[in-house]
């Protein structure tokens, strides 16, 4: 799968602009502030119906305008698909596939998959579990529709359950029949999601290891552990039911897959605590490329890969190793870099399409 053409109207710093891309490596170069990251963010938006960076849609609209639109022509299994994402102030966002608006925008997820690697990715190691859950959820959801649906439903049940628990704190009254229904739904979805998360981590383990070894040429062994409270209990059913008293006291759901985490190790030591900055960077790249490798092996649609501004963070040997690894995957890549000459030099051995902004 690749993106052939892109047209931006009032998206971030762009007024109106069209691009054509190669189905291999596209290098977007230009000084800082010309809109390299905004361009790859537009591609992220087309694939995942939201910006990688902004929290609100308003931030995506060009200053002084009232709407933006992103139009992309994808080629997938030799067929061309047009995707349009548009948003107008105080209206609902619209996503269309071949001129037909989606009833549920979430149905778009997974159709045109994408993996984004950015310089802030080591946050994934250093920050809290929310980021790690979001990363794995995003990757699994794009490949596994039932997982994505279960996740959406889990969030809904969780919110409803928390609402009645919170009300209980205030009015000292709760409908136990309703609580039981939400608890059972929570258990059912948690079992499903947890099983998929566990299975997924097991499946990518080897790819991450191989990529790490290739990338760093060290003997260090990376490892990912899926951490879930379920471990000490037999099942989510026991764990969630056992938590009910506490939930009633605290006014929220204290256990569930919304508390899961993923821990990253290098030689059995937690990278968050013991890894150097270099090791953290290498691990993240190995993780994401490992994910990509597994993806390509197990799906017919190859995702688009975005490497935003990461050359700055890597030394020359790592950069060339990264390029070799990427070339092997033979998918469509967008990379951004501010140092025009360096990029041209690095990419010399590769037949890249240069887009100078």
């Amino acid at each position: 799968m690749h993106l052939k053409k892109l047209k931006l109207i009032n998206f971030k710093n762009y007024k109106e602009r069209q691009f054509e891309f190669s189905d291999k490596i596209n290098a977007i170069i230009g000084l800082n502030g010309v809109g390299k990251t905004n361009l790859v963010d537009a591609i992220h938006y087309l694939c995942l119906t939201k910006s990688f960076f902004s929290n609100t849609e308003i931030e995506n609209i060009n200053y002084s305008e009232s709407l933006f639109s992103i139009k992309g022509n994808f080629v997938k299994e030799e067929k061309e698909n047009a995707v349009i994402c548009s948003y107008q102030k105080s209206e609902k966002k619209i996503v269309q596939l071949d001129r037909k608006p989606y009833k549920k925008i979430s149905d778009h997820i997974g159709q045109f998959p994408l993996v984004f690697i950015s310089p802030n990715d080591t946050d994934l190691i250093r920050q809290g579990g929310t980021l790690r859950r979001r990363f794995f959820d995003n990757i699994i959801s794009q490949q596994n529709k039932p997982y994505f649906e279960a996740l959406i439903e889990y969030q809904k049940v969780l919110k409803n359950r928390n609402t009645i628990l919170k009300n209980h704190l205030i009015i000292r009254k709760i409908d136990f029949d309703l609580l039981k229904i939400y608890t059972d739904q929570l258990i059912e979805k948690a079992e499903k999601i947890s099983k998929e998360r566990k299975g997924y981590v097991e499946k990518i383990q080897n790819q991450v290891k191989d990529t790490y070894l290739n990338f760093t040429s060290t003997e260090e062994q990376p490892n990912i552990e899926y951490e879930t409270k379920k471990g000490s209990f037999g099942s989510w059913k026991e764990l969630i039911n056992a938590s009910q008293e506490k939930d009633l006291h605290t006014g929220r759901s204290n256990v569930g897959i919304h508390k899961d985490d993923f821990t990253f190790f290098l030689n059995q030591k937690e990278i968050k605590k013991f890894g150097s900055q270099g090791q953290q960077k290498s691990f993240i790249i190995a993780l994401k490329l490992g994910v990509l490798q597994h993806w390509i092996m197990s799906n017919t649609t190859k995702p688009i890969l975005i490497l935003d501004d990461i050359f700055d963070r890597l030394d020359d040997t790592r950069i060339s190793k990264l390029l070799i690894l990427i070339e092997k995957l033979s998918l469509q890549v967008f990379l951004t870099d501010a140092r025009v000459e360096r990029t041209k030099h690095i990419l010399k051995p590769i037949n890249a399409n240069f887009i100078e902004l």
Binding site: K92, K156, K159, I164, D177, L178, I181, Q185
Partner: protein
């Protein structure tokens, strides 16, 4: 999109309070009304006021009508079945199928605590009373609620509350739409259709 006219702005604000009407649509409606004969605006205003003042809700089935004399009092309905729906328009939709001749019960919504709707905000207790007080004349309660999580939760909740009452609780089937191809049916619907498949008999 602010106008100098406060009158136009106010009207746009009012219209955009309606469901699925954005500011743009509201403005189009307001400007349309402005361009038409006076009678359109007058008729619209008076019918809205009359509507709100005049429409009565049946105290038994909670259907809306012009008088308290609801169609649920008529003797040609099958008194052994009652169909539970979310809202008034669902009554009309089910009636129009021509395949149902029993009672209705309008809940006035579905359970959704995040939207501030709990069981007590709906006509659930009146449904339970209606079934229990029928003295087992009502043999079946058909749940015809939306095929969403909230719909399922509500169905489940009512079924739970009817446990121990001598009545059959059923739910309308969900599956592949008539006249559509399997390959275009979403996985969840298709999955459900397979799980809740029906026996095929050749007579």
């Amino acid at each position: 999109m602010e106008f100098d006219s406060k009158l136009i702005n106010d009207a746009v604000a009012s219209f955009s309070k309606l469901p699925s009407i954005g500011k743009k649509t509201a403005l189009r409606l307001v400007l349309h009304i402005l361009k038409q004969e006076n009678s359109l605006a007058e008729d619209l205003a008076s019918s809205l006021v009359k509507l709100k003042e005049g429409v009565k809700y049946c105290t038994t089935c909670h259907m809306a009508g012009d008088s308290e004399d609801c169609f649920c009092k008529s003797s040609y309905l099958d008194p052994s079945i009652i169909c539970v729906v979310e809202d008034i328009q669902d009554v009309i939709a089910i009636k129009n199928t021509g395949h149902y001749s029993g009672f209705f019960h309008v809940l006035g919504g579905i359970i959704s605590p995040i939207n501030g709707i709990g069981p007590d905000d709906l006509k659930i207790s009146s449904l339970l009373r209606r079934v229990k007080e029928s003295g087992s004349e009502i043999k079946e309660v058909i749940m015809a609620l939306p095929a969403t999580m909230e719909g399922d939760t509500t169905t489940f909740y009512i079924a739970k509350k009817l446990q121990g009452v001598d009545v059959k609780v059923s739910s309308i089937a969900r599956g592949v739409p008539v006249g559509s191809e399997l390959e275009y049916t979403d996985e969840i619907t298709l999955g459900r259709s397979i799980m809740n498949r029906v026996n095929y008999s050749v007579q």
